[in-house]
């Protein structure tokens, strides 16, 4: 059985926890192992959602964020789409562990997403859909 969950929320950071909780519940259904389910997935998803809400949608009330979570070929696929102009994932990913960045307050989001998931990529040409893939055993 292929399973996919689709959620659409308004552009408010207060929505993040609800969305994450629902996706994590679906991960349990999909038998994603506990650690990934309790740590990698919620954290990576929180990062992608806050970027989508804050940068992509600029917290505008008329814009929404859409999340799709699903299973395909033994991998968990999470897609986070915003209604912003898109961005260049690679160009925007900084190394927060470099000495000059270590004490910065920002710039750890994309880095963490890439460390917590097996693949993080732009899913569409516009660049406002981020796709994260976690390979499962």
């Amino acid at each position: 059985m292929r399973v996919a969950l689709e959620l659409e929320v308004p552009s408010e950071v207060a929505q993040i926890e609800r969305v994450v909780a629902r996706v994590v519940a679906t991960c349990a259904d999909l038998q994603v192992p506990e650690r990934q389910r309790q740590f990698n997935v919620p954290l990576a998803l929180t990062e992608a959602l806050s970027n989508a809400i804050l940068y992509g949608n600029a917290e505008r009330a008329d814009r929404h964020v859409t999340v799709r979570a699903g299973m395909a070929d033994h991998a968990l696929v999470l897609e986070v789409a915003d209604e912003g102009p898109g961005f260049d994932l690679d160009a925007c990913t900084r190394d927060p562990t470099a000495p000059e960045n270590l004490e910065r307050e920002d710039g750890r989001g994309l880095f963490l997403m890439r460390r917590l998931m097996d693949r993080v990529e732009r899913y569409n040409a516009a660049g406002n859909v981020v796709r994260m893939v976690l390979e499962l055993p």
């Binding site: 950071v13 207060a14 993040i16 926890e17 954290l43 927060p96 270590l102 750890r108 880095f111 963490l112």
Partner: protein, 110 residues
């Protein structure tokens, strides 16, 4: 997230319950800055009841730590579970913070 603040000697101990993330990190920042305003200089954040911390939560810890140091104080962390420890290692923030295994150890060393 909710948090509690208590004193242990001259150390202000903050316990974070739940996720420390973009939607709530400001609350924590505000409260610690108030304590700093009131003259407190030694801070310990206890994460034993914390789920995860996102990048903006980490950012708040970094900026609080900097401010506290500038005023001659110190911010220490305690009780990171394996996942949180991994998070600090991934971001190399384990090199920036004093991280103790237990609240007692952290308190001893101030």
């Amino acid at each position: 997230m909710s948090f509690t603040i208590a004193k242990s000697g001259d150390v202000t101990v903050v316990e974070v319950e739940g996720q420390l993330i973009v939607g709530n990190r400001q609350e924590l920042k505000q409260r610690v800055l108030e304590e700093l305003d009131h003259g407190e200089r030694h801070f310990l954040i206890d994460f034993s009841r914390t789920g995860y911390i996102d990048s903006s939560g980490l950012g708040v810890l970094v900026s609080l730590s900097k401010k506290i140091r500038e005023l001659g104080g110190e911010l220490r962390l305690a009780n990171l579970n394996d996942d949180l420890r991994t998070l600090f290692e991934l971001t190399k923030l384990d090199t920036l913070f004093q991280i103790a295994d237990s609240r007692e150890r952290a308190l001893e060393s101030f």
